[in-house]
C-alpha cells in the first residue's frame, strides 16, 4: 500500500463575482511516485486545480491534504518549499546567473556555500547541461529549451517530494519538446517523486502519465491509466477527445 501524496476532498473554486465553479467538487487521491498528467482545454480548471496544491490559489470549499496533512493549516511559504513548481513562462530571474537561479531556495534556507555549489553542479548535470559552461551565464543567454531545463533544476533544488508542472513545454518547439519529455520521464523514474503535469496536448498527456486526469468544465471526467481510458472512455467528452486524436493520426497517415 503506497502512501497518499495528495488528496482532494470536495474541493471547489468559485469565481467570487459570477459564482461559477472553476473547479467543481473534486475528489481524488494520488499515490506517492505517480506521474499524473492533467489534460483539459483552456478554462477546464486544470491550472486552477494545480495552483491550489501550492496555495497560489485558495479553494472556496473543501480540503487538500499533502501526505495526510491539511495544507490550509500550514504556512503557504512552507507548503511551497516542499513542492517544486515549473511554469510555462519559466520565470527565471533575469538579474541572477543560472547558478544563482538554481540556488534561490537553498540560499533562502541558508545552506552552507559549498553544499549549494555542489547541489547546483549536481542539478545542472541532472538536467543535461554542463555546469562549467552554464553556471555563470544569465537566463537571456539561453535558448527556450535550456531555460526550461534550468526551471526544472531550480524546482528540484531542495529535493521536493511533489513536482507541479504547469504546461512546462507549452512554448517549446516540437523537437526540443520530445527530448524534454523523454528526459522528464527519465527524471521521474530516477527520483521517486510525485509529478503533476498540466497540459492541453493529448499526446503529451498519454505519453507521460502513469495516470491521466481528464478535466472538463471544472469536473474530473475520467482519472485512470492511459490504457483504460482508451478502452473505456467514461463519457462523451472523453470519447470525443479520443476521436479527435485518432482523426489527427489518420490525417498524418493520409499524407504518408
Amino acid at each position: 500500500m503506497s502512501l497518499k501524496a495528495i488528496e482532494f476532498n470536495q474541493v471547489c473554486k468559485q469565481y467570487s463575482q459570477s459564482g461559477d465553479f472553476v473547479v467543481d467538487h473534486v475528489n481524488l487521491s494520488i499515490n506517492e511516485g505517480e506521474f499524473i498528467t492533467i489534460l483539459g482545454s483552456s478554462g477546464s480548471g486544470k491550472t486552477t486545480l494545480l495552483k491550489m496544491i501550492n496555495r497560489l490559489y485558495e479553494p472556496s470549499e473543501g480540503t487538500i491534504n499533502l501526505f495526510g496533512e491539511d495544507i490550509a493549516t500550514i504556512d503557504p511559504v512552507k507548503v511551497r518549499r516542499k513542492i517544486g513548481y515549473v511554469i510555462q513562462q519559466v520565470g527565471l530571474f533575469p538579474h541572477m546567473t543560472i547558478a544563482q537561479n538554481i540556488a534561490t531556495v537553498p540560499k533562502l534556507l541558508k545552506w552552507p556555500q559549498p553544499k549549494i555549489k555542489e547541489r547546483v553542479d549536481e542539478l545542472l548535470n541532472l538536467v543535461g547541461l554542463d555546469p562549467k559552461e552554464f553556471k555563470n551565464r544569465y537566463p537571456s543567454q539561453l535558448s527556450g529549451g535550456q531555460q526550461q531545463r534550468i526551471g526544472l533544476a531550480r524546482a528540484l533544488a531542495i529535493d521536493p517530494k511533489i513536482m507541479l508542472l504547469d504546461e512546462p513545454f507549452g512554448a517549446i518547439d516540437a523537437i526540443t519538446r520530445l527530448h524534454l519529455q523523454d528526459e522528464l520521464m527519465r527524471l521521474h523514474g530516477g527520483l521517486k517523486k510525485t509529478f503533476l503535469f498540466v497540459t492541453h496536448d493529448i499526446n503529451e498527456a498519454f505519453k507521460l502519465g502513469t495516470r491521466v486526469m481528464i478535466m472538463n468544465n471544472g469536473k474530473v471526467s475520467q482519472f485512470d491509466t492511459p490504457q483504460s481510458i482508451v478502452k473505456n472512455p467514461a463519457d462523451s467528452f472523453v470519447s470525443s477527445l479520443m476521436r479527435s486524436s485518432r482523426e489527427q493520426e489518420r490525417f498524418w497517415e493520409g499524407l504518408d
Binding site: N54, L56, V77, K78, R80, R81, Y85, I87, Q89, V90, G91, L92, F93, P94, H95, M96, T104, V105, L108, R137, Y138, S140, Q141, R154, A155
Partner: protein
C-alpha cells in the same frame, strides 16, 4: 576672451573651486534626500494602491511650479540660505524618481512573481530579491533625470544666498561680464554631463545582465 577667461581662473581660482564645491554638495544632498523620499514614496504607492493617484498628482503639480517660484515662495517661511534651496530642489527631483520607482515595480511581470512565490519566497523576500532588483534599472534612470535637473536648477539657489555656481552667473549678469557668464554656464553644463555619464557607468556596472549577448 581667452585671456579674460584665463585671467579669471588665475585671480579667482579659490572662488571658483568654492562655488563648484557648494554646487556639488547642494545638488548631491538634494539628490540623496529626493531618492530616499522618491523610492519610499514609490514603494508606498505600489503597496497601497488607493493612495498612489494622490501622491503622484501632488508631486506632478509641484513639478509644474517653477523652482524659482518655490524658492521665492519659501522665503517668507524659511528665510534665505541653504535650507529653502534644498527643499525646492528636493521637490523638483522627487517626481521622476517616484514615478520611475512605481513604473519599475509595476513592470515586474506576473509570471516572474508567480515563479518567485512558487519557489517559496515570502512577501518580504519577493520585494527585496525580485521586485526592487528588477525595478532598479528604471529607478536609476529616474535618479539620472533628477540629477541633471537638480544640477541645472541649483544655479537658482544662489538667488537666496545658498551659493554655488549660480553666484558666478548672477554676478556676470549684474556686471554684464561675458567671461563670468561663460565660466558659470559651462561649468554647470559640464557638471550635468559628468553626473549623467557617471550614472550611466553605474548602470552598466550594476546591471551587467542587461548587456549580455547570446
Amino acid at each position: 576672451m581667452w585671456k579674460q577667461l584665463s585671467d579669471y581662473f588665475v585671480h579667482n581660482h579659490d572662488d571658483f573651486i568654492n562655488s563648484l564645491g557648494e554646487h556639488i554638495v547642494i545638488s548631491f544632498v538634494a539628490l540623496v534626500f529626493s531618492a530616499l523620499i522618491g523610492i519610499a514614496g514609490g514603494y508606498l504607492c505600489v503597496k497601497h494602491k488607493q493612495y498612489d493617484k494622490w501622491i503622484i498628482s501632488i508631486f506632478q503639480v509641484l513639478r509644474i511650479v517653477p523652482s524659482l517660484a518655490i524658492i521665492l515662495l519659501l522665503i517668507p517661511i524659511m528665510g534665505t540660505g541653504v535650507e529653502p534651496a534644498l527643499i525646492a530642489l528636493v521637490l523638483l527631483a522627487i517626481p521622476p524618481i517616484l514615478m520611475n520607482t512605481v513604473a519599475g515595480i509595476e513592470g515586474v511581470s506576473s509570471s516572474m512573481l508567480e515563479a518567485a512565490y512558487g519557489v517559496g519566497m515570502s512577501d518580504r523576500q519577493v520585494w527585496w530579491k525580485i521586485k526592487f532588483p528588477l525595478a532598479a534599472p528604471l529607478i536609476l534612470t529616474g535618479v539620472k533625470t533628477a540629477a541633471i535637473e537638480v544640477i541645472a536648477s541649483a544655479t537658482l539657489a544662489a538667488k537666496i544666498g545658498a551659493g554655488g555656481l549660480g553666484g558666478i552667473i548672477f554676478t556676470g549678469l549684474g556686471l554684464n561680464r561675458m567671461d563670468l557668464l561663460l565660466v558659470g554656464g559651462i561649468s554647470v553644463a559640464v557638471l550635468s554631463i559628468a553626473a549623467g555619464l557617471s550614472l550611466d557607468l553605474t548602470d552598466r556596472y550594476l546591471f551587467k545582465y542587461k548587456m549580455v549577448r547570446k
